[in-house]
Symmetry: C2
Subunit: 630 residues, 2 copies
């Protein structure tokens, strides 16, 4: 597939944008007119710049308010077009986007629109140029692809074709399924944009909230599928108006853009493969190895110095973990309980293996249990993930890994028989019969991310691992709002709530500031009996986060709990949530470990699927109080 | 008027909120239930805290999904109410907000709703408590004040009354005019919220975009007027859900809240004074002196050190200003041209008269020409403005002044006869016959503000000076979006565009960061002949901001300009804009002075009223290029 992106999707000056687009691996670029108007170089210089960078100029856009204009303006409008044709020839692009007229006084007569566009197409044709006609969702008279195709079909001019934009169709709940009735060579260009579903004015939505495919809520695969069926083989181009992208560094935005197209192509391929006769053009779509099956978190690894390691070990011990092994060649300890494996790595310079500086203890690696680690790695690499192979000492196994967006490692570990597990080869194991708290597994790991990086992380997990993303949840911290969006493996064996906050003084923002970037926010362990687990942890001296009694008074008012049961909840600071299907969550938080992260112990009943969002506000208020008292 | 605010309107812990509310001068507070649930102290402790701070608890809220609930839940719901009544008695408040049921399965039968609410009212009544019933705009069956009043009227219970919230009526375009038909003593409580007009889901709009009266687009004076006519004398309370307020320091938010109520009361008073028989209750509304007439900017004053003063003076000289005076007792110089007076103050420690530190040359004072400076000062003080009286040396006149939100000074200067002007008394004047550039007056002064402070500034000018605020304009900087909202005196003799940006790397954000807060962004001088003025400035060596030729090629394509005229525009880097009414703007920018601010020279034709928003993007791109090249 020929992959392209509009300059308006990125921040920066025109040269900065073009360099970022080339670096991300795009084949082409749409030049958004304003980027050219505001640039001090000539169109010829821009053409040369693109040529040097190896990207084609796929489109010049937009040309507005032409067809059906007031008759006294038609001649002037044609003059205006000729000026832009001059410019296109200097740029060396043959295609211009003409978007449907939005002027209040524009005319609706369809045969007039056909005539106007034929006239324009003929002018273009004599100069070897072409017109792509697009329906804006808010066009005065033309706002569907069906109208555009009807006009293009009637005009029947070789230089006039259909230009499709997913946003303009899907934002007004248009049906794209019959696009495959258009001959592929009459579709001149395809623009792709996703967006979150927002009940707001379409123009505002379009101008500020578009996002890359996979970051929003549109069903883009079923938009692209009929286009591929039509035989279209032209560029697939991203045209994203997004306030965040306008402010973010262009290189990382462009890289996400390319990844989003690969993601969309794979999803579209899956749709098309279900066709009785898949189209021949299927082969132009990106084809990575299928995602492997994930089966939980095998281990997590913290980078610590020796004293931090000792302090964190002490916390783990009180939480019922046992230190069961020491690494054969490194200053690395293994702590275990149930299926949970926690590695404390105190090797100097080992943190995230030299990728970034240590600022206090941090989660530096997570290992996912995966059925086929090599296929998983190939897929990650195909999606432009950064693979990692570390130093391998004597007796150590090499584990395939890929960098998470923050540079920490995600190991891909295949299940092994007892005796052949990574711990058996790399660690000297010892059996310590300590009292467990009954913690079974890592239920979820919540991350604190810089506000602008959420979409990047979501797309990373969705594409490389084929994870799913839950809807965004907004919860109040006493000092601002927090947004949370969880990604999880298809069977929910791995769950990663990703948290951001645009307010400076929330717990999330403080964590991001402490980490100088993203970092783990809390780690939740599951258990089968919350009161047993918490009681043991409390007895062992684990500092539990205190929940106000007012919270339990409200539970009493709202629910039919017995007084004794409520007292027990309150005594152990256990929070409670219930979903509409009768699922129940019992959960308790610890105080933070050295102002970095904290632990959660939880019990899910009746397939409760969430993370206790109803209780996040009280947890944040209690954390804020704790911080204020220090 | 008894003035109140809901705890949910502010950020922080409950004690932080209560302290801020008391400090701002409110009489009372609505306790939002969640603030209580998340607080570790008991309701009795909160009651004591409020008593110590001298604020009454005016309301406990909300109690949800009661009336018309499924019959099997009614008993449980009454139990839930009794628990909350317990809590109210501990808090020592007698009024609870019951908002209309939103549950999908709630029942619509009006007589049932009357019965349910009568039952609840009777339970409250036996404990000396009262119920305020409110229609949520998104209530399942009840969503207008008319329905609420109908139900309250039928119930005819002394403990059941109407609770009004401006947002819930105005957001769904409800008509408040007949509220005066409700007996005043059947209105138990009034909540006030403004909001910008946004075409979006009402619930989302309500939860994130409410703002204080005067900061949004609602006609609140005509909402409050019929309430006052009804004879209502209870609290006027702010209930604002706003993402920005949730993150801002509670004390400044609370201060704005109180000011917004004063502003609303004055506006409401003006509406009521037009009644043939103004209501007796008119007297409970705030009554400041009427705003004075403003007639332009008398002078602006920069704080500089000696070398900065020399450099800035050199810029002014090239712009056609003459140094016409030296202060009698201070290191202060006067520069003049046309009606423009610029003071360069190089007194050590003089910057903003000790209010904040100097970080490079900054605008430290602005003087408004005003008809009655003492009335203007009284009004400013009544609206909680901070008056200022500086040190007055021999021969110096004392000028009334008030602090702007950033601590700089706004002098209030009455017009004087020649020979008796402030310059005549304070300065030793000299006549320097220099070449003027034909600049007449200060057309506008644009400010760069921290993103979160825009609403504060807008309310400051609207209330203290009775200025008007234009609609917000959004323009793209290459590194993010910029929002601009202009405030201006009623006759537009003083115009102050206020600019913010939520993106870190825009020109506005860089300016805010350079100033370590708000500061002047650019100063625009008007002239009668743009080409004459710019030509002289260019000859004198003023560095004009270079505009790309591509911009003029586009003008050529769009407009019927002669080639020669376009060449002249391009040669002098003059930007052009035209409004739909035929008004025209010609304007040119200088490069920035020491990375701080820049100057603009403009000519308005045919009553062009804007600021050239269409050209801001090209200006920002040119500025960004200039920055990048340094």
């Amino acid at each position: 597939m020929h992959r392209s992106i509009a300059t308006v999707s990125l921040s920066g000056t025109l040269p900065e944008k073009l360099e970022a687009i080339a670096a991300a691996g795009f084949d082409g670029v749409e030049i958004f007119e304003n980027d050219l108007l505001y640039y001090s170089g000539s169109p010829r210089e821009i053409r040369q710049m693109c040529q040097d960078l190896g990207i084609a100029i796929t489109l010049f856009q937009p040309f507005r308010d032409f067809e059906g204009c007031r008759r006294d303006r038609l001649a002037k409008n044609l003059d205006r077009a000729e000026r832009k044709f001059d410019l296109m020839q200097e740029l060396n692009t043959d295609l211009v986007l003409v978007c449907s007229n939005v002027a209040q006084d524009s005319l609706s007569n369809e045969s007039m629109l056909v005539d106007d566009l034929s006239l324009l197409a003929e002018r273009a044709h004599t100069r070897g140029l072409r017109i792509g006609y697009e329906a804006l969702a808010w066009g005065r008279h033309v706002n569907t692809w069906q109208q555009v195709w009807s006009i293009v079909h009637q005009a029947n001019h070789p230089a006039l074709g259909v230009l499709l934009d997913s946003f303009h169709t899907l934002s007004i709940k248009g049906d794209p399924s019959a696009i495959d009735q258009i001959p592929g060579d009459k579709i001149f260009f395809v623009q792709m944009a996703d967006a979150p579903l927002l009940a707001m004015d379409v123009l505002e939505w379009s101008r500020h909230f578009r996002c890359f495919p996979g970051q929003g809520d549109f069903d883009l695969a079923n938009f692209l599928a009929p286009i591929i069926r039509s035989g279209y083989t032209g560029p697939l181009s991203l045209e994203i108006f997004n306030d965040g992208f306008r402010a973010a560094p262009p290189r990382s935005t462009a890289a996400d853009g390319l990844r989003s197209l690969l993601y969309l192509e794979e999803k579209t391929r899956r749709v098309l493969e279900k066709d009785p006769t898949p189209p021949a053009a299927l082969d132009i779509l990106f084809q990575p190895p299928k995602a492997s099956r994930y089966a939980g978190v095998e281990f997590i690894e913290f980078a610590v110095d020796e004293p931090q390691g000792a302090r964190l070990g002490h916390w783990l011990e009180r939480l019922g973990f046992s230190c069961t092994g020491a690494h054969r060649s490194k200053a690395v300890k293994l702590w275990q309980q149930g299926e949970i494996n926690i590695v404390l790595n105190a090797e100097p310079y080992s943190f995230a293996h030299g990728f970034f500086e240590v600022h206090g203890s941090s989660l530096c690696a997570t290992a996912f249990r995966v059925k086929d680690s090599n296929a998983a790695l190939t897929r990650a690499r195909d999606f432009k993930g950064q693979p990692y192979r570390g130093l391998v000492g004597p007796n150590e196994r090499e584990i395939p890994a890929v960098r998470a967006p923050d540079g920490s490692l995600i190991y891909l570990v295949e299940p092994s028989q007892p005796g052949q597990r990574i711990y058996d080869t790399d660690f000297q194991l010892q059996t310590n019969a300590k009292t467990s708290c009954g913690l079974n597994s890592i239920d979820h790991m919540a991350m604190a991310l810089p506000a602008e990086s959420l979409d990047n992380w979501v797309l990373f997990y969705k594409s490389l691992f084929d994870f799913e993303a839950d809807d965004e949840v907004v919860v109040p911290d006493p000092y601002g709002l927090v947004k949370s969006r969880a990604v999880r493996s298809p069977c929910s064996s791995i769950r990663l709530p990703l948290n951001i906050s645009e307010s400076r003084n929330t717990a999330i923002s403080k964590a991001v500031s402490n980490y100088r970037g993203s970092g783990v926010h809390h780690i939740a362990f599951s258990c089968d009996n919350i009161f047993e687990a918490v009681s043991r942890a409390k007895d062992a001296g684990v500092p539990l986060l205190e929940i106000p009694l007012n919270y339990y008074d409200d539970l009493a008012a709202r629910l039919d709990f017995e007084h004794k049961f409520l007292s027990e909840l309150a005594y152990y600071n256990v929070l409670y949530d219930r979903d509409p299907q009768g699922g129940e969550l019992f959960h308790v938080y610890t105080e933070p470990f050295e102002d970095r992260f904290f632990f959660e112990i939880l019990q899910r009943k009746n397939n409760y699927a969430g993370y206790g969002a109803a209780n996040v506000a009280v947890r944040l208020a209690s954390l804020a109080k704790l911080r204020a008292n220090r």
